[in-house]
Symmetry: C2
Subunit: 198 residues, 2 copies
């Protein structure tokens, strides 16, 4: 049997992650406060620092959960046998809709920065890999002479391109465009990339 000590600690950790996720979802990463998290989790302020090194550690776990959500969403949006045009289109639109539906959680994935000198831990970097894999699979069939690594790099490029369009739109930089136009542009870009030959 697991001791009451460890049980309570894991419970606190889970409550903190839930509270932090909700607060980021509701108010965005920039308005996140350690005191708000502790209060919503029903814990003392100091408790947060008995589970995580600092706020960044907690945010990393929230982002980890968001990535898992995103992975599920994207996985159910595609069928492995579909043509590359259809797969790119489905992935891009599913990504766009996820970003729109969970704007703050999605933004936190890319807005969050580690403090000076500290880099993102390896276990969290690795969690991004599925995004590349999703694109690399159909792309490999279009790059039969390329190495596995080159396909992965190209997949990363294509993801970053679509991500950039969505990101710059939702950030409200430049003059804003309507969601309908954004969806159209994403559709066009996904088509261009799917049909491309370098």
């Amino acid at each position: 049997m697991v001791g009451k000590r460890q049980t309570k600690k894991e419970d606190l950790k889970a409550r903190l992650i839930v509270a932090c996720t909700e607060l980021i979802r509701e108010q965005g990463l920039k308005n996140l406060r350690a005191r708000d998290i502790a209060e919503r989790a029903g814990a003392a302020l100091g408790g947060l620092y008995t589970v995580f090194d600092d706020l960044d550690g907690l945010i990393l776990h929230v982002n980890s959960g968001t990535l898992k959500q995103l992975e599920n969403t994207l996985n159910t949006a595609i069928s492995p046998s579909a043509a590359i045009e259809e797969t790119f289109l489905s992935l891009s639109l599913a990504y766009l809709r996820f970003a729109l539906a969970e704007r703050n959680l999605w933004s936190a994935l890319f807005e969050h920065r580690m403090p000076e000198g500290v880099s993102v831990p390896e276990w969290h970097l690795a969690e991004h890999a599925f995004l590349i894999g999703l694109i690399a699979a159909p792309l490999a069939r279009h790059m039969p002479d390329a190495s596995r690594q080159d396909v992965a790099i190209r997949a990363r490029t294509f993801f970053a391109a679509v991500h950039g369009v969505i990101s710059l739109s939702l950030e409200g930089r430049f003059v804003g465009i309507t969601p309908e136009v954004l969806e159209r542009e994403i559709t066009v870009l996904a088509g261009i990339l799917a049909r491309s030959r370098s």
Copy 2:
């Protein structure tokens, strides 16, 4: 003749912008401190708030200067009569090199967020327009049936795509790639976009 009052105020404003620019360039937006800016500008802490509403106002002016620098760099990178492939390639590579050379100032352009509820002032949003214009000019020749606005939207999409690739790389998300590979990927993407027909 202009009064000593106004002269000194403008001088203070200029010194603050220079100091803030240098500090962002050296240490990045995240490590920017109001006290450091005032000290480097040779001013009292409170002086900052007699010229700008808050730190965000000052950062906006720094970003304004960075955009002007970027505009000069990109303008000298292209020739108006060149083919679209060459123009897209030159612009993309010049943009990449600017981002690499002034990484922190360039990052600040996109990392900076206004406080809750406050939106970026119109005069600063308008300063981004040249980026779209640079791409829209050659693109219009490839979209003869499209309206001026549709061309601008597509130009924005293409910029965002290239920007996304550079942005995600320099942020160090996912597994990093070397500058050479990044340059290759940017070259490939610029070619794909230049040759695209939707």
